[in-house]
Symmetry: none
Subunit: 229 residues, 2 copies
C-alpha cells in the first residue's frame, strides 16, 4: 500500500509538478487548493505526510499547520517563497518538521520527504514500481530493464514509456495521451516523437518473447499487448 502525501497548494502548476514527481516515486498524492479544503482532506485521508504552502487563500499555511498539529503528529513540510531565517524559525515553532523555499529542486523535495518520514519512524517504502512479464523485467526503482536475464541499458524516456504502456497491458493509448502522461501535460511537441521511442524500444525487445508485444493500433496509437492472462 502506497504512502499517501497531501499537497496543500493553490498554484496549480506547482501542485501538478509535485504530483508528477511524487507519483513517479510511487507515492499516492492528493491535492487541496486552500487551507480549509486542506484540513478537510487531511481528516478524510489521513496522509502519511503533508506538503503545505505558506501563502494560501483563506486560512494561511501557519493556521493549517497549527490545526493539524493540534490533532495529529503527522509530519509537515512547509513550502514558502520567503527564505528569511526568521520565517523558518517561526515555522518550526508552529510545529512544522521541515521547510523548503521556492523555487525548489524536485530532487531536494524528494530527499527531504524521505528524511522526514524516516525521522518519524515511517519506512518510506514506496509502492513497488516493478513489472514482470515473460522474459521482461521493468524495475523503475532501480531504473533497470532486464530482457531475458540480461540488463539492457535504457534511457529514461524509453523506460517510462514502456512502463506506462505495460502498466495497463492491452489498453490502447493515443500518442497525445502518451505525451500528456509520460512527457507531461504541458509538453508541446510532435507526436512522432512517440514513434521514435517506440521504435527504439522495439529494437531492444525484438523477438524476446511471444507472450507480449508492443503493438501499433492503426490510426489510434500503441499498446502493450499480452497473450494469455
Amino acid at each position: 500500500m502506497a504512502l499517501k502525501i497531501l499537497i496543500v497548494e493553490d498554484d496549480r502548476n506547482i501542485a501538478d509538478l509535485l504530483r508528477l514527481y511524487l507519483e513517479r516515486e510511487g507515492y499516492e498524492v492528493s491535492i487541496a487548493p486552500d487551507g480549509l479544503k486542506g484540513l478537510e482532506r487531511f481528516r478524510q485521508e489521513q496522509p502519511a505526510l503533508v506538503l503545505l504552502d505558506v501563502m494560501l487563500p483563506g486560512m494561511d499555511g501557519w493556521g493549517v499547520c497549527r490545526s493539524i498539529r493540534s490533532e495529529s503528529k503527522t509530519p509537515i513540510i512547509m513550502l514558502t517563497a520567503k527564505s528569511e531565517t526568521e520565517d523558518k524559525v517561526a515555522g518550526l515553532k508552529q510545529g512544522a518538521d521541515d521547510y523548503i523555499t521556492k523555487p525548489f529542486e524536485m530532487k531536494e523535495v524528494l530527499a527531504r520527504i524521505e528524511a522526514v518520514l524516516r525521522r518519524s519512524g515511517i519506512e518510506p517504502e514506496r509502492a513497488s514500481r516493478r513489472l514482470v512479464f515473460d522474459k521482461l523485467t521493468l524495475d523503475m526503482d532501480a531504473f533497470e530493464l532486464t530482457v531475458d536475464g540480461k540488463k539492457i541499458p535504457t534511457p529514461p524516456k524509453e523506460m517510462e514509456l514502456l512502463f506506462h504502456l505495460a502498466s495497463s497491458p492491452n489498453r490502447v493509448y493515443t500518442r497525445n495521451q502518451l505525451l500528456d502522461e509520460v512527457w507531461g501535460f504541458d509538453y508541446f511537441g510532435d507526436t512522432r516523437t512517440v514513434d521514435v521511442h517506440i521504435k527504439r524500444l522495439r529494437e531492444k525487445l525484438e523477438g524476446v518473447s511471444d507472450q507480449w508485444e508492443l503493438k501499433t493500433v492503426w490510426s489510434v496509437g500503441y499498446k502493450f499487448e499480452t497473450k494469455n492472462r
Copy 2:
C-alpha cells in the same frame, strides 16, 4: 452520481455532437451558446469541467476562461480552430488546463477530458467501452474485435461504425447520421462510403450468430438488430 460537464460553444452541431459522445460516456452535459450564458451556467451548475470554445459571440473564450479562473479552479479545456503553438501557450497562461484544436477527434476529446480530470484529482469513472453480444465482443479500450473467440483485425473506421451501431441496438441510423457521428461533423463525402464499410463488417460477421445482425432499413439506413430481449 455522474460528473457534470459544461460546454460553451455557439455552433449547435458541434455542441450536440459533443453532448452525444459525452453522455454515452456517462457524463452529465449542459450547453451554453455564448460567453455570458456560459458564465451564468457555470455559477449555477458548478460543473466538474468546462469545454470552452475560443470564438464566441459577445465575451470571447479567453474572457470566460479568465472569469472562471478568477473564481474557481475548475478544469477548463479550450476548443479552437487555430493550431498555432503561441495560441496554445497563451491559452495555458490564461489558466486553461488543456487545449484541443478543431477539427477534433472524439476519442481525443474523451482522452483529454479524462487526463485533465485525473490531474485534478477527480476520478473520471467513465462507462466501460466494451460491448458483448452472442459470440461478439467489441472492446474499444483495447481496440479489439473478437468474433467467436478469435480476434479479428479490424480497421478503425469499421470498429467505430460497429461500436456506434451496437451501442444502441435496434436503433436505425441514417447514413448521414453515421457520417456525422462516426466520421465527424465536418466530414463532407459520399454516403455510399458507409455502405462499403457496412459491407466489410458483414464479411467479418457473416453467419457468426443468429442473435444479432447488421440490417439494412430500406430507404432509411442501417441498424444493429438483436433478437430476444
